[in-house]
């Protein structure tokens, strides 16, 4: 069992299958479904990843979908080193100090 009632989880579902999508879309977008992710507290007594479940969102709305993550968390960061940026500060300080004589 991956989660029990009340566990904070993330669910996924398909809003529109590719054949149900708007005709006014670029080809690549029309080929894929419209997908949705929502987080909430699990309402089922217990569930495993991949099960169809129901959740209560943080503000109290109910939503159904496939359980994809238990205790979901963010992993975005300050990225990797981008060496291409390193010249900017030195270049600017060089230009300004030459002019301003400070």
């Amino acid at each position: 069992m991956d989660a029990k009632k009340g566990t904070w989880v993330r669910i996924h579902n398909i809003v529109l299958k590719s054949e149900e999508r708007s005709p006014h879309l670029p080809e690549d977008t029309r080929k894929v479904p419209l997908e949705m992710w929502v987080k909430g507290f699990l309402l089922n007594d217990e569930a495993n990843i991949g099960d169809m479940v129901e959740v209560e969102t943080y503000i109290g709305r109910r939503e159904k979908g496939k359980l994809v993550e238990v205790n979901p968390y963010y992993t975005h960061s300050f990225g990797k080193c981008v060496p291409e940026l390193l010249y900017i500060g030195r270049q600017l300080r060089g230009i300004i100090s030459k002019e301003g004589d400070r």
Binding site: V15, L16, E20, R21, S22, H24, L25, P26, D28, T29, K31, V32, P33, L34, E35, M36, W37, V38, K39, G40, T57, Y58, I59, G60, R61, Y74, H76, S77, F78, G79, K80, C81, V82, E84, L85, Y87, I88, G89, Q91, L92, R93, I95, I96, E99, G100
Partner: protein
């Protein structure tokens, strides 16, 4: 019996759902033909400037610092012709509670929702507006749902948008995340119908009126500090609300000689609804993918009549490449000691270039900044670009091709904003009005309206109508 929730059925109930969720009867401002009464709409459904100042003060919005960027001015003068190089200022909108000017729009929307007795607010946005609505809703005890276009079909999301989702959740909101596509509107309508919450649209009269205080403050702060209004205000343009509201505020202050300059990141060639191109852009807003279509047809938004109508106010529309905005973001941090988010620096990059055209005693102001943090920062955004096959190069921004590479200017002399043909956009707007109204013949009232909408004159409108074979 349960309602039909199919795509067609929900979209068919669109105007009924919207009316309940905004509480404005837009029909009251319509008449036959192309014309609608914009000023009446703003007057009767918005709030006065004084009321908005009071509303925003209640939740700590506005009165943000005005900062002179002396080192960047000095730098601009190095590349400007003799006697040129206007003083560059910035309005530090990141000082608002949720970290951007969007708090001004959210403040009035949430106040209005509370006053009308709604229990919660919903907004469709992948931008800073989500955090702004979540923040204002938290202060006013309203529930909040933010609907985001967030991922491509691989489930990969822009770090900038992921960060905004995190921030909304941190402020107690529910975030509904979707893959790419304009059918986001279907999910948005379903949620509005299900919850009965208020549509905190970016494009309502109260949302736009909320930005008027920004323009008004600019004028007052400059008069107090420099004894005059700014000569040019540079405003990042996407949906047109920032520009419209700021310009209206300046006009209300009596700053009639201030030039209104729109600024966008040039993303021409990228399709905004494309799944595969979604993560090939390194700016999620403030770019031409929104700026141009919303200026030339504002009523494409999530309300029947958008209160954001940038062509009514815009004097010039300048474009800048992605690499120059990233460079200026680094410059602001490195020589001015102010670290802010890249998207908010679009107007600053343009102001840096524009300052070199203006005399030394003139004043140019970039009217916003935004918060920065994990995801919303040059480093993760450029790392992400590289992971998605975008080359990051140092060279001449002229060589940048959106979706292929990002070119950081070799040195500041390469930062050059480019004018768009604003008359072409004005003509395109007139053409869209004719197309959407199916008009074969237009009245004098229509012509007057079109002249106001495009900041031109009747002669200009008539010439374009002649081109379109429309009788007047």
């Amino acid at each position: 019996m349960s309602k039909d929730m199919s795509f067609e059925a929900v979209m068919g109930r669109r105007s009924e759902i919207m009316k309940k969720a905004i509480g404005i009867d837009y029909d009251a401002f319509e008449s036959d033909g192309i014309v609608f009464d914009y000023e009446k709409m703003m007057r009767e459904t918005g709030y006065s400037l004084q009321e908005i100042e009071r509303i925003q003060k209640e939740t700590g919005v506005g009165n943000t610092p005005l900062l002179e960027l002396k080192n960047l001015t000095e730098l601009a003068r190095k590349y400007a012709p003799e006697g040129k190089g206007a003083r560059i200022f910035i309005k530090d909108e990141a000082a608002n509670p949720s970290g951007s000017f969007k708090d001004r729009r959210a403040a009035t929307a949430c106040y209005h929702a509370q006053r009308l007795g709604y229990k919660g607010v919903v907004a469709a946005t992948s931008g800073n507006y989500g955090a702004a609505v979540a923040s204002q809703a938290a202060m006013r005890g309203l529930k909040c749902i933010i609907v985001q276009e967030c991922y491509d079909s691989r489930g990969v999301g822009q770090p900038e948008i992921i960060e905004k989702a995190r921030k909304c959740e941190a402020l107690g909101a529910e975030v509904v995340q979707l893959t790419v596509g304009p059918e986001l509107f279907y999910t948005f309508l379903k949620i509005l119908e299900e919850t009965g919450y208020f549509n905190a649209s970016l494009y309502t009269p109260f949302g736009i009126a909320g930005v008027e205080t920004l323009g008004y403050e600019l004028s007052m702060q400059f008069r107090e500090r420099e004894g005059k209004d700014p000569d040019a205000v540079v405003i990042t343009n996407a949906g047109g609300g920032n520009l419209t509201g700021t310009a209206r505020g300046l006009i209300k202050a009596g700053a009639s000689h201030t030039q209104i300059v729109g600024a966008s990141v040039d993303l021409s060639g990228l399709h905004m609804a494309s799944d595969t191109q979604f993560n090939k852009k390194s700016f999620t807003t403030g770019h031409t993918g929104f700026g141009v279509p919303f200026a030339t047809w504002p009523d494409r938004s999530d309300v029947p009549r958008s209160a954001a109508r940038p062509l009514r106010y815009m004097d010039r529309y300048l474009l800048i490449n992605q690499g120059s905005v990233f460079y200026m973001t680094e410059a602001l941090a490195q020589v001015q000691g102010i670290e802010r988010g890249p998207a908010g620096n679009t107007s600053l990059a343009v102001a840096f270039s524009l300052a070199q055209e203006l005399d030394e005693d003139k004043i140019v102001v970039a009217q916003e900044t935004e918060y920065t943090g994990a995801g919303k920062h040059i480093q993760p955004q450029l790392s992400f670009a590289k992971e998605n096959g975008i080359k990051v190069e140092i060279g001449d921004p002229e060589d940048e091709v959106p979706g292929k590479n990002i070119v950081l200017p070799k040195d500041p002399s390469y930062i050059k904003a480019k004018d768009t043909d604003i008359n072409k956009m004005r003509k395109s707007y007139i053409k869209n009005c004719i197309k959407h109204s199916n008009a074969k013949k237009v009245t004098d009232k229509d012509i007057k309206f079109l002249a106001e909408e495009t900041k031109t004159n009747e002669q200009f409108v008539k010439e374009e109508l002649k081109e379109l074979n429309i009788i007047y």
